[in-house]
Amino acid sequence: MMSNYILEMVNISKEFTGVKALTDVNFKVEKGEIHCLIGENGAGKSTLMKVLSGVYPYGTYKGDIVFEDDIQAFNKISDSVKAGIAIIYQELALFPDLTVYENIFAGNEIKRGAVVDWNQTIAEAKKMLQRVGLNVNPEVLIKDLGVGKQQLVEIAKALSKNVKLLILDEPTAALNENDSENLLELLRELKKQGITCIMISHKLKEVISIADKATVLRDGRTICTLDGSKGEITENTIIRNMVGREIEDIYPKRASKSIGSKILEVKNWTAYDPQLGRDVVKDVNLHVKKGEIVGIAGLMGSGRTELARSIFGNPKSYRLQGELLVNGSAKSLKHPKDAIKEGIAYVTEDRKGDGLFLIQDIKNNISAANLNGISRKGVINDNKEIRIASDYKSSLNVKAPSIEQIVGNLSGGNQQKVSLGKWLFVGPQLLILDEPTRGIDVGAKFEIYTIMNKLIAEGMSIIMISSELGEILGMSDRIYVMAEGAIKGELPIEEANQENIMQFATQ
């Protein structure tokens, strides 16, 4: 082998319609090292790994993937697996109702002729389990194992395919301290066995403890590669590189601020998700005053959406504890309908998934949450609906030929405006926006910020959940920072900056 590098990604660029996810990314990994990939949400880490693993096939990106000194052209995931690259996602890809050994060799069965050799399979599985230090009976079902052990089964699966380069996406995100430590130890073991690891992680303390090298991505570009042996991998250096952009003047100024009394408050607010078997919101104390924009910052998985939903009528039926006060009086909101009645609106983060009715037109979508507003005694007044939808279409500047345009055919920015329009028609006092400008072009973003300011001037209050620090700092009056379901910090805008927010977010 000519070079030290097992992997070189050279000048990788990837674009989705209108959005540049990666621009000239250069990423080099030496053989046998543990290399961490760091960046904010949307920085491009997952996209880069998807290019590498073949999820985005050869031809859909620019640049070269050089693996073991050969330029690769992966057309599908199995191509990269055959080359010796295995990726383990945060949402593990195991079959909960099958056994450990069935999972390890799923898709890669040990056969004798045309028949699966189960005895051999179990024997090999035992060997793999030993390599990862997992002491379980291979006949146990996956769903009966804890997340930490499930992760080890995933790694065992990768080892069974003779992996040379193991990629782990946020491996310790769902693990407790013990399991996390075990996992990191395992990675060090695998390193001794000559396996190279790429680890995507937000947990800076872990990165510092395990990484040989750390590469920081920001806005789809490589910012720097830090060398652990030279002492370059420190918390300060990483954070500085993760966020280091100027907040350009892309956030419209607000005329004046008039902030009133508390319109919403939660005290000791805890939400337990019976499906996941754990608390997704932990003892949160948060309030919003009239006329405020409250930003909620945090990295993915920090519980912000769960917090918003637990307040907005608890659609997932979490077990709730604590107090919720609307305008000072305690309320129990058991259904989104109750929240709407109290003047709370929630614009979801996944507009296509649960925010819009994609096969219906603009006017049907805009009236959807307030049909009473366009009907009398249950009968819909078509003309009223047309008038109201037209008003919102023009005031929000939705670019479409008519209000009979099917929403599924609109661009992301216009879809988001329709989603917003639906909730504005409810006439809320509190508007909760969950990632309001995700996947939207710069022009539409500015429009949405301007609309937000106008709403504030008209007396509304806004909670803005966002993973974009620039947005949070540019628009909020006050900022809460969440991590792992709890509020780690509260900052008035005058005291907030990118570094201290990121510090709270990575605790």
Binding site: P336, A339, T348, Q360, A368, D382, N383
Partner: protein
């Protein structure tokens, strides 16, 4: 060719090309009408015109009644992404209960009918609870229901076998016709009047809809295309009215069928409830987060299906003037087939009750035509199954093209 004739020719080609584009874009909406036309034409030719005789068309529509009302209810069930396989034997069972109440328990007809309808609603609500509250997949829950009703039907008809219904009023629902007042040229006058009324109403609604659209500057089809559409549909309604009036006129079954369609059409297109139903079908999560009570909607849709199953049972029993031990067999097949031919989508959120009625008539025409031609029952089953498959394939293929 001078300018005038050239202009006329261009005018003609414009209508044709507009028609072609309209068809391509709205193939889903018009597909079932085309299917109906093709089937009726085919059978007319194959039976030397016997198919389109007054007697046959009248009988055909009467035979459609008990399936058509099921198809209307099934449309809503499929729209909210569920299915109800129990409607056939539920109808058979409820029809048998009606027969027992009328003939053995001596309950008067004006009490029997509401009782059966209410029983139907209860049955439907029960299904709804299983599906919405307990989260049982509707396929399994209704399959269980189907078996239970099969057994229940056998149980109540076990001792007596077929139960004869002698009540005149009840049987009129399935066999009677609206009174004629007097005969105009050997045609049922009231029926003709009804037909004319329907045409006038249709023209009125279409014209005001178009005027409204123009007011708000929405896209409308050209005036000439619009006129063609009006004339075409009116002609069909007139023709059918003429044919029916030549026999005995509109039967009570047809009146009930039309009433159900009109009510459900109004509910689904003009009410808040209708919007909620289609929202739940289009995206249940978004509906939930928009403040819609998805469980309540599920109860209502299944309750309505139960109500219509009861109505179907009443119509079928009245038509046969008796309750048999096999009443209801495969009704759900025809109802589901009718809904799919009528344009409902397996993905949910799409489907009109007016389409399902046409779908029901399509399936009934198939049976009627095949009977007239003496096609064996085994082949009939295969052909009906084939048509259902084609309808679903059509649904999937046209959906893919749009997205």
């Amino acid at each position: 060719m001078n300018l005038v004739t050239q202009g006329k020719k261009e005018h003609q080609t414009n209508i044709l090309s507009e028609g072609k584009t309209l068809l391509k874009v709205n193939i889903r909406e018009y597909g079932m009408y085309i299917a109906l036309f093709v089937i009726m034409l085919t059978f007319s030719i194959l039976t030397d015109g016997l198919f389109m005789s007054s007697r046959n068309i009248s009988n055909l529509l009467d035979a459609t009644g008990y399936i058509a009302v099921l198809a209307v209810g099934m449309t809503l069930v499929i729209v909210i992404r569920h299915i109800d396989l129990s409607v056939g034997f539920a109808a058979g069972f409820l029809g048998a209960i009606a027969a027992i109440l009328l003939s053995q328990a001596g309950v008067p007809v004006y009490l029997t009918i509401p009782i059966i309808l209410i029983l139907g609603i209860i049955v439907g609500l029960f299904n709804g609870v299983l599906v919405a509250s307990l989260g049982i997949p509707s396929f399994v829950a209704s399959l269980a229901g189907m078996l239970i009703f099969r057994g229940a039907l056998l149980r109540v008809t076990e001792k007596t076998g077929t139960i004869i219904v002698k009540d005149e009023h009840f049987n009129a629902l399935g066999n009677g016709y609206i009174p004629s007042l007097f005969k105009l040229d050997d045609l049922n006058f009231l029926s003709l009047l009804l037909g004319v009324l329907v045409i006038l109403l249709f023209i009125y609604f279409e014209v005001s809809k178009r005027r409204n659209k123009i007011k708000y500057q929405f896209e409308v089809i050209s005036k000439s295309m619009f006129t063609v559409k009006l004339i075409f549909v009116s002609a069909i309604i007139a023709y059918i009215t003429y044919i029916i009036s030549g026999y005995n006129g509109f039967s009570w079954t047809v009146i009930i069928m039309l009433a159900v369609v009109v009510i459900y059409h109004f509910l689904t297109t003009s009410t808040v409830l209708g919007r909620h139903i289609y929202a739940v079908g289009s995206n249940p999560e978004a509906a939930h987060l928009s403040g819609i009570n998805v469980k309540k909607i599920t109860y209502i849709v299944f309750g309505s299906m139960g109500l219509l199953s009861a109505l179907s049972g009443i119509l079928f029993t009245a038509r046969l003037q008796s309750a048999t031990t096999t009443a209801g067999t495969l009704f759900e097949l025809d109802a589901i087939a009718a809904a799919y031919v009528g344009g409902v989508s397996a993905a949910g959120g799409v489907g009109k009750v007016t389409g399902s009625i046409i779908g029901a008539i399509v399936m009934a025409s198939l049976s009627s035509g095949m009977n007239l031609m003496g096609v064996g029952i085994s082949y009939q089953y295969m052909i009906r199954g084939g048509v259902l498959a084609i309808a679903v394939i059509f649904d999937v293929m046209t959906r893919r093209k749009r997205s």
